[in-house]
Symmetry: C2
Amino acid sequence: MLNLSVSTVSRALKDHPDISESTKQKIRDLAAVLEYEPNTYAINLRTNGSREFGVIVPSVSNYFYQSFISSLEEEARLYGYSLLILQSGDDPLIEQENLKRCRQTRVAGVFVAITSSTVDLTSFLKLTEIDIPVIFFDKVPSYEACNKVCVGDTSAAVLGAEALVQKGKLNILAVFGDPRMSITRKREEAFTHVIEKAELETTLTKAYAGSFLEALTVTEELLTKAERPDAIFCMSDEILTGVMKCLQKLNLKTPQDIGVIAISDGFIPTLYYPEITYAETSGTKLAKLSFTRMLSCLSGSPFVQELRLDSILVEGGSL
Amino acid sequence: MLNLSVSTVSRALKDHPDISESTKQKIRDLAAVLEYEPNTYAINLRTNGSREFGVIVPSVSNYFYQSFISSLEEEARLYGYSLLILQSGDDPLIEQENLKRCRQTRVAGVFVAITSSTVDLTSFLKLTEIDIPVIFFDKVPSYEACNKVCVGDTSAAVLGAEALVQKGKLNILAVFGDPRMSITRKREEAFTHVIEKAELETTLTKAYAGSFLEALTVTEELLTKAERPDAIFCMSDEILTGVMKCLQKLNLKTPQDIGVIAISDGFIPTLYYPEITYAETSGTKLAKLSFTRMLSCLSGSPFVQELRLDSILVEGGSL
DNA sequence: AACATTTCCGCAAACGATTGTTGTGGAAAA
DNA sequence: TTTTCCACAACAATCGTTTGCGGAAATGTT
């Protein structure tokens, strides 16, 4: 319409010095009128990159990933990125498919919380090789040479244990998650260590629950026995909800009848009265940290590192 | 490497009859060895379309959208689509930005739950014009000519009210959400209508709460007065959590001291003992319905329609 | 007036995949 | 021997944008 070549238009729209101001203005005006919008497909093809990140989680309807994704999206938006959400359903096969999808889609980078049974990391590493940074978060593999960002499992468990010791709780029930997960082992180890180091006459009962329901039943079983514990430690939000339902069922009040402390993102604890005391593992903070790490990977930082987020104790009234 | 042209390779990989079987096999083999993967950017450019849907919600960390997104992702995956998640933060300006992003990214379609203050629909309609279907879900505009999929607000509220009437509750406290939202008005209207139509000597107290916290305080205020209600109706999960926390605080038991019924997606009610009776508004079902609608839009169905999901009553033990 | 230097813009070649058209052998039919 | 036909594969254009290079006109310099 202006009798100008495509290249001139392209340059004008990018404010290239080669184009005269008058031409630029004409082009800009017409572009506005025509509501011109550059074709992202073509740009992607030419630049061989997109403004999208892949996010692979076991499930988005999870206490923790929800807040992680929410924060990550906000952060990404500020930098002009979007999030491609993929769920693995905690199935390594689907996880592989999703990873493939990320490769095909050629996302700018991938954030992933692996499934509890992921063992083969080769396809993750393959992504890194073709310059797609992979940031593992929360559920991270034990393999060394990869970027990991996770909450301080040790730190949180230690905080929880110390709070219990300090309150003088001597008969403690600790409910952990699936014992096959490394996160469970780490938290259990740290927790146990602190309790033992205190050198008190503490009775520590450990239980494991793979689900909300299991947490409920296993807790009920242990609480109806003689010698009721005077405090319960819950490794996660999922466990906490199970335990709390059990307490309601048995009509036990916190903190009078029994103390409760958890490791949590912070939402679930506020649902109860009094609010549950918890060691915070913030999805929000983790998201910000992960994003920062991703940006530095994209800008070429070759350093592979493991970042840990220290947790803090948030006092409710349940202990 | 095989001394073959690009076009031959392309055809071979698509099993085109023009290519001899021997050549095809050689190409397939080499492709496998080289781990060839077609460039999605180029395909998108050529076909002028992508296998991604945009999803715009006020926030992913919401009781309802969480399960919606989770189901939608599963459904999308089966059809080879992915989800681009965008949050509006309940801000119409950011919603516009996100919409623009969808246009630029040229997604195959958009699912959107509008903010409570969205009034201008022109940019949504503009998407439809350029053949990007827009499916409004849950929070839908009142404008007629668009595709809407939502839970039956009326249906759910009616179910709740009927259950209360049937249980012989005569002093009812109904807690609703922000009165400015159309969803609140619809539910309130339907609920009130059923109660009044029953022609009993029912005392109906209505309260409004814009947040979890407000629900807690307003309920507490009303419950500590003389003539305590014998049942509480909660319009949403958010209200329910506030009300339940209040009941814990006042040490009131359900159903002995007071009955509780809610409209909910179904997750929150299971956290309590006994589980809360609720009229279901399933995010999962809504997602499946929305996706089906999207598919038919993509296959060219020009029909614009409003779909409503009837809800069912799920009996807990709280009434 | 002759030459040097800007200024401004177009040409063409990428990016990778697809597809209508064309070309080239060889075998079968005339 | 010549013609016809088929099987197979290459050519070239296309999607929309970017960018190195070159060229023409305008301006500046002796």
